[in-house]
């Protein structure tokens, strides 16, 4: 857009407005409407962002299709997709709740979006609620996509759907806390780099596509405590092996969620 067209635009708009147009009539919109509007906008921004789509849609889908079709990673006995689908679901949760949310929120903080919204009628907790809703909506879309592709690849899931739901929700809470902690304390560029690096490391070392059994026993003990391992192994126990409530993994996720959200609440800086 040239400077000329900008100037013309300003001139065209510069005719005066009917008296009384701006007469004060302040008031906040009803809280549910504000939160819904914020959640819709956040989701739109996320789905419009190419890098975010790469992270949340393309990489999980690609890994699922590639490693199901080509025998590169050792997926143990049984069909490859039965091993991979739970890991990819865990990856989808991490990509949205942690990596995507950390990067987006980091740049919102950097560009003053959080600062500007902080003086709007939307309370801060309302903004955070909207962010969580936006994460959940994105995750639902991801779960549908991954499930449809996995089923097409011959996936036969087992287990209690309620256990799966509980794992996904606690996993989301754990990753959201860590993502917001990072976004609210580091510089936007540092968050971008760190969130991507962590995504990559946890993709490899968190039982997503490589079973934790492949690591030495000492490493396994440590890696097993990571939120991504708790989520992917928990989902695999239920969906692949039909296990009951994976209490151990749920416990690990609950601790991460409590620590992460508390630290984010304590250290998050809005500017």
């Amino acid at each position: 857009m040239s400077a000329e067209t900008t100037g013309t635009g300003a001139a065209a708009g510069a005719r005066s407005t009917a008296a009384g147009t701006y007469a004060p009539r302040p008031g906040a919109a009803p809280l549910p409407r504000m939160i819904a509007a914020q959640a819709v906008l956040e989701t739109k921004m996320l789905l419009r962002n190419g890098e975010q789509l790469l992270l949340t849609v393309i990489i999980p889908t690609l890994l699922l299709v590639l490693f199901s079709a080509v025998d590169i990673v050792d997926t143990g006995d049984g069909k490859a997709v039965d091993f991979l689908a739970p890991g990819i679901l865990a990856l989808a949760v991490m990509s949205t709740a942690f990596t995507g949310q950390a990067i987006a929120t980091g740049f919102e903080r950097r560009y003053g979006v959080l600062k500007r919204l902080a003086v709007s009628p939307l309370p801060r907790w309302g903004l955070m609620t909207a962010k969580s809703l936006s994460v959940l909506v994105t995750e639902i879309l991801q779960v549908i996509l991954v499930t449809v592709i996995a089923l097409a690849l011959g996936w036969s899931p087992h287990g209690n759907p309620f256990a799966v739901l509980l794992l996904l929700v606690l996993g989301t809470a754990a990753f959201s806390g860590l993502g917001l902690l990072m976004a609210g304390t580091l510089k936007a560029e540092a968050t971008l780099a760190a969130a991507n690096l962590v995504f990559l490391l946890l993709l490899i070392g968190g039982g997503v596509i490589v079973s934790l059994d492949k690591f030495p026993q000492g490493a396994q003990d440590v890696l097993g405590l990571l939120p991504i391992s708790a989520l992917s192994e928990g989902l695999r126990d239920v969906l692949q092996h039909g296990a009951g409530m994976p209490w151990g993994n749920l416990g690990i996720l609950a601790v991460w969620a409590a620590l992460g959200l508390a630290a984010a609440g304590r250290f998050f800086r809005w500017e």
């Binding site: 407005t17 008296a19 701006y22 302040p26 409407r33 919102e108 979006v113 600062k115 003086v119 009628p121």
Partner: protein, 307 residues
């Protein structure tokens, strides 16, 4: 218009680390347009951000529309509009999308389409915020400050970086706000902006208000205005002085060059020219030098405003 103050700041102190940004600042703003004028680093933004609830004072009190901006933020926020110095918009959002969003957070917002046209943002189309020109970004931020129909608007450097035409368009909108009963607090380091717009100007330097009043009052308060004219050398200055109001001065600076000081108004100018007529003097090169806020600032602080 001389109603209750919309903003009342007393004894405000704000430090960042070891640096004192605001140092015992007192400011009262009433309905209308108040300009907070001062050089960069004087404490303008810190003062305004304390009023917006961003900064917790280290000492002193801040009341905006009678409310504490930190403790009573949720009651205050729907009633004010804020234009930050920069940013505030999702980099991937379009102008109309962001403005509609802010409108949705309010109970009785302005008509978004009309506001977009009024501010010449219609040409932005599907362009996202990060690709808008600086001027378009500024106008969007201004629109976001007014769309919720607030009682009081804070504009932090609303015309910084705008071309003259866009500046005048912004001034016009600010005047329309005032005419419709919206109070405006704006910061600026442009003298002309304060002179053109403000009912009241607070001059800030080094974290304190060093003078406050209407532009006219401030300009009268400093060194007085002067009228100069040329004529034949050796005129009877004492006689001229007798014709002038009591607090005036008149001297022959150099032979044939005269200076009259005091409250220079049209009446005084007429008095000088009729005195000249009575004495058969053809006054040449008559000039009235109006005292500007720039001069006032220079006198009060000993430095240039934009130095």
């Amino acid at each position: 218009m001389r109603s209750d103050p919309v903003v009342q700041v007393s004894g405000l102190v704000k430090r960042y680390g070891g640096k004192t940004a605001v140092d015992g600042l007192d400011l009262v703003a009433r309905a209308g347009i108040t300009a907070v004028l001062g050089p960069n680093g004087a404490g303008k933004t810190t003062t305004v951000e304390s009023c917006e609830g961003y900064r917790r004072p280290d000492a002193g009190t801040v009341r905006v529309l009678g409310l504490d901006p930190v403790r009573e933020a949720s009651a205050l926020r729907p009633r004010i509009g804020v234009m930050l110095q920069s940013g505030g918009v999702y980099s991937g959002a379009r102008a109309d999308e962001m403005l509609k969003h802010v409108a949705r957070l309010h109970a009785h917002p302005l008509d978004v389409a009309a506001l977009i046209e009024r501010l010449g943002l219609g040409s932005c189309g599907r362009t996202t915020y990060r690709r808008l020109s600086g001027g378009q970004q500024q106008r969007l931020a201004l629109a976001m400050a007014v769309v919720g129909r607030p009682e009081l608007v804070f504009l932090d450097e609303p015309t910084a970086g705008l071309d003259p035409q866009a500046r005048r368009a912004t001034w016009e909108l600010v005047r329309e706000l005032r005419a419709d009963g919206v109070s405006v607090i704006l910061t600026t380091h442009h003298m002309d902006e304060a002179e053109q717009l403000a009912d009241d100007v607070a001059i800030i330097d080094a974290g304190r208000v060093i003078a406050q009043g209407s532009p006219e009052e401030l300009c009268r308060g400093g060194a007085e205005n002067t009228l100069r004219f040329g004529g034949r050398p050796g005129l009877d200055v004492a006689s001229l002085l007798k014709a002038l109001p009591a607090d005036s001065t008149a001297v022959e600076l150099t032979p044939g060059s005269y200076r009259v000081g005091g409250k220079i108004d049209p009446q005084l100018l007429a008095t000088v020219t009729s005195w000249c007529a009575q004495h058969g003097v053809m006054p040449e090169k008559i000039s009235v030098e109006r005292h500007t806020l720039e001069d006032v600032f220079l006198e009060l602080t000993g430095k240039e405003l934009r130095g």
